[in-house]
Amino acid sequence: MADLENLKKTPLLETHRKYGGKIIDFGGWALPVQFEGIIEEHKAVRNAAGLFDVSHMGEVRVVGPDALAYVDYLLTNDLSRIEDNQIIYSPMCYPDGGTVDDLLVYRVSGEEFLMVVNAANAAKDYQWIVDNADDFDVEITDESPDTAQMALQGPRAEDILATVADVDPAEIPFFRFRDGVDIGGEKALVSRTGYTGEDGFEIYCAPGVAPAVWETLMAAGKDMGLKPTGLGARDTLRFEACLPLYGQELGPDISPLEAKLNFAVKLDAGDFIGRDALVEAKEAGLAKRLVGFEMEDRGVPRTGYPIYDAEDNEVGHVSSGSYSPTLEKNIGLGFVPTDRIKWGTRLQIGVRNRKLNAVVTKIPFYKREG
C-alpha cells in the first residue's frame, strides 16, 4: 500500500475506497488508478459511461475590465472566437514558444474567465498568470482548493445526467457550459467537455457536496452501464484519442506546433506570449513533430523509449505508448524529425535491448462516430 499520509486528498477519497478504488500517489495526490481494472473501465467509457474524479485539476479565475485582453494575451488560441458560456482549448506558451501548460478557458463574460489547468502545473500556472498581468486591470484567484471536479464520460453520459439534472443536458452543446445546474439537490457547473475522446460532461461543484453528486450520478447510471473509472483508464482513453498529456506530449521544450496543436495556435489573431518565437519556428521549419505509430513486432512502446529510423539512427523518443484496449494493438506517440512523419514511414522502437519494427500511422488512433 502506498503511504497516503502526506498526499493531497480530494473530497472523494472515502468514496473511492467505498467503491474499491486502488489508491496511488498520482503526482502528490491520493487518487484511484483503477477500480475494477483499467481495460474494463476503458471499455465502459467507450461503450456506456464512466465517472472520474478529477478534483486535482486546478482552477484559476481571471476577473476585471481587461480580462478578455489578458487571457487572449496569455494563450495561443483566439479568445475572440467564443461567446459567454462557451469554452475554448488552448496551450499557454513561454516567450520561446515552449509550453507552460494546456488548458480549457470558460468564458463567463467578457470580464470573467475560468481557466482549468493541469494539476501538476497548477501552482506554476497560477504564478505565471499573476506574473504576466502587470499591464492589465485584472484580479486573479486560485480557486483550486474550493473546487471539486468530476467527469461523466461516454455515450450514455447524456442519458444519465438527464435523469438527475434540472437542465436537459441535450441543450448544452459541445464546449458549452451551464452554471447553477441542480444535480440531485446540489448546485454544479456542467460543461460538455472531457479528456476521453467520448461525448460527456465535466461537473464542477463545491468540495463538500462532491460525494453527494457522485452518488447521485452513480445511482442514476446503475442500469446504464456506468462504472467508477480511475486515472489509468483516463490515460489510455485520452491516449487513443491523441489528446496531449503535459509532461509527455507538451512541455517547456515542446511547442504546441510540434505537438500538432496548430488548430489551437492562432498566429494571425493578435499578439500573445510566444507568438514571435512560434512564427519564427514555423517559418524556419519545425525541428520535430508528433507522430503516431503502430507496433508491427510484439512489444509495448513506453514513454521515453528511443525511436530509430530504418537505418538504426536514433531520431526521437516515445512520448506516450500503450496497449490500446479499443484497437487491441500496441501503439505510441512520439517526436521525430519532420521528414519522418509521413504515414507508412518505417520506424524502430528501442524496447529494452532490442529494436522493434513500427510504422507511422494516422492519428488520432481513435475517433468516435458522429
Partner: protein, 124 residues
C-alpha cells in the same frame, strides 16, 4: 489463493517441481498488483539462467515488471499461449498462465524459497 504445493520467491514468482523440471509463474498477488496484463516476453528454449536472473518480462497497461528465475537451470518450454493471450496470467496464474518450465541444476537452491504460509506472511 496461494497453493500449498508451490514454492514462492520474494519477487512473487512461484514454482511447481515435478522430477527435475520446475514450472514457473507469477503469484496471484503479483498479477493482481500489476493489473490487466497485456504483454509477456519469455526466453527461448535451451537458454540457461542462474537463480535470480531476469528471464522475462510481464507488462500490464501501466507497468513493466521483470520476471526472475526462482532456480537456475535450462529452459525446456515457454508457454506460447500467454504470448498470444497475456490475460491468462491474470485469470489463471497457477494454471494456464504459467510462464516457463526449467530443468534445474542445483536442488539446494530451493532452500531459499518460501512455502505458501511464509509467502503469505510477507504480504501482510
Amino acid at each position: 489463493m496461494y497453493p500449498e504445493d508451490l514454492m514462492y520467491t520474494e519477487n512473487h514468482e512461484w514454482i511447481r517441481v515435478e522430477g527435475d523440471v520446475a514450472t514457473v509463474g507469477i503469484s496471484d498477488y503479483a498479477q493482481n498488483e500489476l493489473g490487466d496484463i497485456v504483454f509477456v516476453e519469455l526466453p527461448e528454449v535451451d537458454e540457461d539462467f542462474g537463480q535470480g536472473d531476469a528471464m522475462g518480462v510481464v507488462e500490464s497497461v501501466k507497468a513493466v515488471s521483470d520476471i526472475y528465475m526462482p532456480v537456475g537451470g535450462t529452459i525446456v518450454e515457454a508457454n506460447e499461449d500467454v504470448l498470444d493471450a497475456p490475460d491468462l496470467v491474470n485469470s489463471d496464474p497457477y494454471g494456464e498462465g504459467w510462464l516457463v518450465k526449467v530443468r534445474f541444476s542445483d536442488e539446494s537452491e530451493m532452500d531459499s524459497l518460501m512455502n505458501a504460509e511464509d509467502y503469505q506472511a510477507t504480504l501482510e
